[in-house]
Symmetry: C5
Subunit: 376 residues, 5 copies
Amino acid sequence: MNKLFKVADQQMNHLLTASGKQLKRLFITISDKQGTPPGTMVYTGKQKAEPLRISVMDFDAATLAEQSDAATEACLALKDTATVSWINVTGLNDTEAVARIGKGFGIHPLVLEDILHTTQRPKLEDLGDYLFLVVRMLFVEPGAREIHSEQISFILTKHCLITFQERAGDVFDEIRDRLRQSHGRIRKMGPDYLLYALMDAIVDNYFVILEKTGEQIEGIEQALMENPNSLLLNELYAQKRELLYIRKAIWPLREAIGGLERGESNLLSAKISAYLRDLYDHTIQVIDTVETFRDMLSGVQDLYLSSMGHKTNQVMQVLTIIATIFIPLTFVAGIYGMNFEHMPELGWKYSYPVFWVVMVTLSLGMLYGFRRMKWF
Amino acid sequence: MNKLFKVADQQMNHLLTASGKQLKRLFITISDKQGTPPGTMVYTGKQKAEPLRISVMDFDAATLAEQSDAATEACLALKDTATVSWINVTGLNDTEAVARIGKGFGIHPLVLEDILHTTQRPKLEDLGDYLFLVVRMLFVEPGAREIHSEQISFILTKHCLITFQERAGDVFDEIRDRLRQSHGRIRKMGPDYLLYALMDAIVDNYFVILEKTGEQIEGIEQALMENPNSLLLNELYAQKRELLYIRKAIWPLREAIGGLERGESNLLSAKISAYLRDLYDHTIQVIDTVETFRDMLSGVQDLYLSSMGHKTNQVMQVLTIIATIFIPLTFVAGIYGMNFEHMPELGWKYSYPVFWVVMVTLSLGMLYGFRRMKWF
Amino acid sequence: MNKLFKVADQQMNHLLTASGKQLKRLFITISDKQGTPPGTMVYTGKQKAEPLRISVMDFDAATLAEQSDAATEACLALKDTATVSWINVTGLNDTEAVARIGKGFGIHPLVLEDILHTTQRPKLEDLGDYLFLVVRMLFVEPGAREIHSEQISFILTKHCLITFQERAGDVFDEIRDRLRQSHGRIRKMGPDYLLYALMDAIVDNYFVILEKTGEQIEGIEQALMENPNSLLLNELYAQKRELLYIRKAIWPLREAIGGLERGESNLLSAKISAYLRDLYDHTIQVIDTVETFRDMLSGVQDLYLSSMGHKTNQVMQVLTIIATIFIPLTFVAGIYGMNFEHMPELGWKYSYPVFWVVMVTLSLGMLYGFRRMKWF
Amino acid sequence: MNKLFKVADQQMNHLLTASGKQLKRLFITISDKQGTPPGTMVYTGKQKAEPLRISVMDFDAATLAEQSDAATEACLALKDTATVSWINVTGLNDTEAVARIGKGFGIHPLVLEDILHTTQRPKLEDLGDYLFLVVRMLFVEPGAREIHSEQISFILTKHCLITFQERAGDVFDEIRDRLRQSHGRIRKMGPDYLLYALMDAIVDNYFVILEKTGEQIEGIEQALMENPNSLLLNELYAQKRELLYIRKAIWPLREAIGGLERGESNLLSAKISAYLRDLYDHTIQVIDTVETFRDMLSGVQDLYLSSMGHKTNQVMQVLTIIATIFIPLTFVAGIYGMNFEHMPELGWKYSYPVFWVVMVTLSLGMLYGFRRMKWF
Amino acid sequence: MNKLFKVADQQMNHLLTASGKQLKRLFITISDKQGTPPGTMVYTGKQKAEPLRISVMDFDAATLAEQSDAATEACLALKDTATVSWINVTGLNDTEAVARIGKGFGIHPLVLEDILHTTQRPKLEDLGDYLFLVVRMLFVEPGAREIHSEQISFILTKHCLITFQERAGDVFDEIRDRLRQSHGRIRKMGPDYLLYALMDAIVDNYFVILEKTGEQIEGIEQALMENPNSLLLNELYAQKRELLYIRKAIWPLREAIGGLERGESNLLSAKISAYLRDLYDHTIQVIDTVETFRDMLSGVQDLYLSSMGHKTNQVMQVLTIIATIFIPLTFVAGIYGMNFEHMPELGWKYSYPVFWVVMVTLSLGMLYGFRRMKWF
């Protein structure tokens, strides 16, 4: 029993350490920059060693120019060209380079601070010349078990879309392939459609994460049916925490995408609004699913507690039946084990058989009583 | 006891597998198409083998033409005729045919995607030339035990109502009969009234489902009164999950029908608004009932837990009464079973009767004490 | 113990059957008419044998004409007379007669359907020429124990107030008496004031019901203080369910009366608004009281659970104290009951007194330890 | 143990009877007047024997005339004088006198009904010529332990403030003193400021009540730390109920004072609005504190339940350790107490010491096992 | 066991006394001034001995004049100078001096009362000529363990920012350093930016507090994994209470800063709005984090309760297994310890070995049964 308990502890520790680390990343890094003046650019993320790399895809319906490691200056040159430019910055450690890009595109210092300060709440800000959108990208890298969480910031200008990621590796490869194929809607439309396509990829990935979560919840459930134990309880708790985490990342997103959809900015073309409404619907669906999973988890927890209560009750009943039957019998046996000199029954001839008859009758009577009380 | 437990497990597994499958269908199919460009038409439902079939009812107050297996082109011909046309498409596996209908009626690709993507959240979209309404149809097929859940999409244009179902078999037979009878309001009014009539049939079926659920809850309750056991707990849990499921399907419907009722579209005639308000009232009533059932279920669960607690307490009391009375008596019997050479009581003449008197007195005293403490 | 349990079960069954019947009436009758076209007049209530009877009170400040069993045609004649007419229809089984009245007063088929369909959610509808108000009347008939619940529909036209009840017997006798006395405000004002007076009588009766409920909750509480048992738990549960039921009937009423008060209809005179605000205040107060009762009931339930937990704990402590003291003593007595040939203590002279001293010392030591742990 | 339980019961009964009486006064008196026409003046309070007394303070910045037992007619004479008149009516049993005052000041019959009907929900009504405000005054009389609760109604006209109390004794003595001193803001301003000052005194008294409640909660908490018992549980429950009661009195006040602050009535001067905002802030703070206390109480309850669970667990562990060690030992002792003729061990020379060694080893081994399982 | 419990009690008492004191300070000091006329200046805080001290920083982009102990008159002289003046008042015991400053700057008496009355709810008031903002500053002094809580009031006029603190020591040192360095945005902008900078420092400190809280919650969690005991339960409870406290301080802040951001006052320049939106975002993030921590704590509490339930169950199972196996065996041994003269088995030759074989078989059978019931 002890050994089992140990194993459960270790597994739980593992689970919680994993999700604990993520939570730490989400909650507690603002204080790193506490005490600096507002607008100071300090990178607060954990990918300190990631080098800054800029990849550029510059395209219109006819042409596509791709650069995998562009210089800052090359990016700035694309600012006012009629082609659509997607400037993807990975690695935010080099704050100087980020500042240079920011300055070149006329981005407000507070926005740059938010980009570097990678524990932002998802939000949308319309700053006139450009839109600023921060979201959280969640994905599971192929082969890995842990959810990777990362802040992505979007700057949408008239001709460009700039994205800032903490490190290389994202959910956009499929979009890149679509861009490389000359046909398709994405090449014919502006940077606003590109923004939508990238956001769509991120939201679609939430469904992948949730599908995984849903399967795990069902697994816990099934296992619980077969044998409720404390190991499952800990898994349950870890899932609960993970949902809390996902929820914190997704809830504010609704508001941000809702803001986009209402579409007052002239950076968003009229055609895009149907797509944004679709995106908004998906976000609502993600939130619905998260809430349903939370309800399911708390249902599973109730079931666990009730099952445990039922089991305790059963154990108690077994104990009580056994003890209640045998304790009086043992008492009677004890009586005739006494060494009093004057105990007439001891000498009677049929004492022993009578003793057995009484014992068996008593036991059966008690069993009958317990059955009437529906104890078994 | 063990056997009983086994049976409960099996039944529970059955219950949960059944509802588990449904939930799976509802939650986790979006990822099937994850990675495809927006507007790509991929059917995500489970009825992969269902052939596409189009049935048409074309009518005005005087005439009715019915086709049970129409060609796509025949449908498109009905687009602008003055008669009201109900085009019912079942089986969404043939995405090409759906696309052809969509193109013919000028439907936006994202709308077509939503039609095929059969885990949509109920919603209403006003796209100017046509209204798009998605709802979830729940019904129990005659003879079956399981709730069948299916997405139904409505496209309402000036002269036509197009409905898309995943498979044949629905709750509309009664409406078809009414159409076939030449008299009645339904033949005299436009496609908006037909939409209302179909929606009304769907919402009325929710009441049938809920009636069934209500009866099951009452059954659980009654059974719980007679003998609270873990089997009922699992039934309770399965009901809770089913309600969660129904709720997820119905909540957003309120908003959609509310949107219809507010009636800003010119596709909805003025006469229809009284009917839509009625429909809205019914939806609210469905939601009310679901919420009340949830409250009732959590009340039943509380009752179960309290009953279990009470039972455990009773079992404990029996154990304690028996143990507390006999353990001291057994001790005394044990004393006079000792083999010390110098135990004066052993030789006394009335030791044995005195022993019995003391034992009985002690027992009665304890019983009296327990009664005063209201233990029985 | 078993007997007590039986009694509790019976009482509980009684309680729940009673309230279960009511709930059935409220929730599950819509499906009776499922499958019929909208606007079809089917009476869904349970008073199938109640004959239709129309009583009329036609009055102005000076005169009062009363008919206890009027013909349909007589009612229609009152439609446009300057006197105020209160037409009270009891027994909705005769749908034809209801239809005739409806047609005569120009009432929409859907409204008539709602009148017959007696599980409506309370609501107000302004249909231009007339107001339609549905409420639920709750009352306890003198001598009866059960709450009687019935839908009452009001049709307010310029000169008439038509009320539809499922059966004879209501809370309006007091109003009738006031009408018969020639003095009083009620004779001088229009049908809108009459509507208010009737609604006021209904809402006042909610207070009577709630007063009864409040007394029962206090009774449960008091009984719980004296001896917490499972009987009370079931009473508690029955009360909870009854409140759920009352709440479902009253919550939507707030909205309906709020709509009346805002008073945009020209069927409501300016003078009436102060009275309607008063009525609205009363409704809010009813809702407040229901909510407070719910809070109180859940408080009582918490108290019950805590008391049970406390009692279990106490029982456990008694068991543990007794067992922990006597089990070691019994072991020692068992040792000296062994039949080893070589046990030096058995032959010693003072073994037996020493044995007693050791036993008593050990017991007292344990008791002292338990007291320090605050076990008693 | 039994005695302790008795005491707890008595104390609890006392506590609950006390608060039960209050609740009764609040909830269940409307039915006293059920069946009377609206606007009928029936006093529903409990102070039936309190004689009606009118005290008047008539003042401007320069003069102050005070009458401790004024006649009704004297009051009416003050209606239109330029001086500010505070007419305080205590004892509402004499409904005729109240009606005469009401008529003199032109007060609507429904308002007079609300004044006499002393279980009103706090509310504000603007009736054009006068404002009507109902609040609940809570205070602890010096030396008393119980909270006294009483409805106070305010009628604010252009030159007068009329207050209606159920009985003499209130929280306004301090205001009277301020009025008697010729200096101070209160003498220079109108009846609206006087209304504010009185309301401020009432709200300030809520803080006194809450301070007392807060101290009691802390007391329960501290006592719980030292020794969790069922007495505290009952205190906790009584506090919870008291808070429920205070909350019901205060919540609607927020709305009423908010209405005053928004200040659309021309009976409220522009200068007063800063004071009313201050009053509104205090009300919000009272509500905040009540909510925090509720959270604290439910926290204390959780702590109690967890402590009880912990204690039960500890008791169980002690029982299990003792029983698990001694039950097998007793079995072994029982074996060698058997009287079989052929038991070789009985005759061996070192059987007895070996028996002891085995017993001690077994016990120590079990203890070691329990420690490893962290049972103590 | 007892000793451990003692230690837990002491630690808990310590924890609760600490946080209890803070709560006392927050909740229960309004009654100190109960009974005084509105606008009376009474300092209700606890820092009665703190002397009043005024420090002034008067600056524009070019110059900075700093006074560490200025006279009241010197402050008033700065009122209308074009330079930005930050007048920081610490120690509110000297109400006369505060009144003099208030009068000099034309501050309303109710505002001054709120400044001295140091248990205000955070709020913003726009009084035309000046803005009044009250917030709660939370910080941990270097080396200390306890959270220090203090009300800070801001008065923003056209050229000055006046801050009132209860005692010296705050979170503004970093701002002072920035002011002293001639470069930086803070020197070039007006008092509105200074207000923002100070507020930003306060909100940033909330994150520091929350980071500490988060670490403690994780510590409790980790400890709980290793060994769930009642000590942790008390820590958990203390954390819950602390969060309740922080929440009460922060929730209203959102509204106040939201009011600032919407920026209708002309005391706030257009440039400042981006900064205020940033501040508002931070406040939302603080609230989000507090709510997430509350969810986490209640998750930890659930885990604790489930773990305890699991442990109790395990203990029960061990007890039941041991008791159920040995009680029947002991009964059998008791039988053959009886002294009946006629017990044939006693004389049989192989009775003793057969006895052992039966005992061992029985035990193994029971163990097998328990394993099948999954008891270990």
